[in-house]
Subunit: 131 residues, 2 copies
DNA sequence: CCTTGACCCTCCATCTACTGGAAGGACCAT
DNA sequence: ATGGTCCTTCCAGTAGATGGAGGGTCAAGG
């Protein structure tokens, strides 16, 4: 199977698949003419990668997850630990974004948004320069 | 004032301040020996930048915000529009992260985390490869 | 006068996870 | 033979810094 078909079936752009090969996440075979030749196994890994990335795992975590997936001696504890670490990071990001959102929403609400130059948003940004 | 003092007062690393100069966000004067010489105005801008960045505005948006701040003919509507755009992006990111979080938490909760190799997290990641 | 240490400078490389594009080969239909 | 659509590799660029090499500057101490 060539790269565009593999991309279509795995839900990934061809560019991304080549990149994943570059960094060693997959090793598709090659046809006589040098074209990549994707097996069902390759497709499986690609779809696994797509889904793990969609859950926000980093590429290195995806590499570990693929390793665990392939490793018959893994324990679910190993996987759970990785997932918990990631969840913690997601929660940290959420907390930061929510804090940003609250401040932004507050400032926007306070801003009249009219033709006057007076703006509490700019005032707030500048204020910290003084405080 | 030299760069480390400016950094201390503005709450930014010296590296970041040099970077901001590189991309034209500030133009500190130079002393005879080539050292940067920061004015109160420079400090003001740096602190403004730090705070705008902390609210998640991109560097280009920060450039626009600084421009508006300096522009006496601005309207608060201009600023509010920028802030609203940014809030929308923050909300989009929040929605995505919350979706990730829900899925992750669900999978983690379903995983026994023991010595067995059976793991619903890996199963879920692999499943999409089949579905 | 010399050295030591703490600054400062510029320039280049690195990070994440791709994405875009150039230059050229392969293949199929007309 | 020619056009169009695939494929290949390699290089550059994105955002926003951050780390480090290699070297200049300056004040204090001996």
């Amino acid at each position: 199977m060539n790269i565009s078909e593999a991309g279509r079936r795995a839900g990934l752009p061809a560019k991304t698949i080549r990149f994943y090969e570059d960094i060693g996440l997959i090793q598709p075979a090659r046809m006589g003419n040098g074209y990549r030749d994707f097996s069902e196994e390759d497709l499986h890994r690609l779809a696994f990668l797509r889904r793990a990335r969609a859950l926000g795992f980093s590429v290195e975590e995806c590499r570990q997850l693929l390793g665990l997936y392939q490793d018959r001696t893994r324990t679910s504890a190993d996987v759970k630990r990785l997932a918990r670490q990631h969840l913690q990071r997601v929660d940290d990001q959420l907390a930061e974004l929510q804090q940003m959102r609250a401040t932004l929403a507050h400032l926007i609400q306070a801003c009249s948004g009219d033709q006057s130059p007076d703006c509490p948003i700019l005032a707030d940004l500048a204020q910290s320069a003084k405080g």
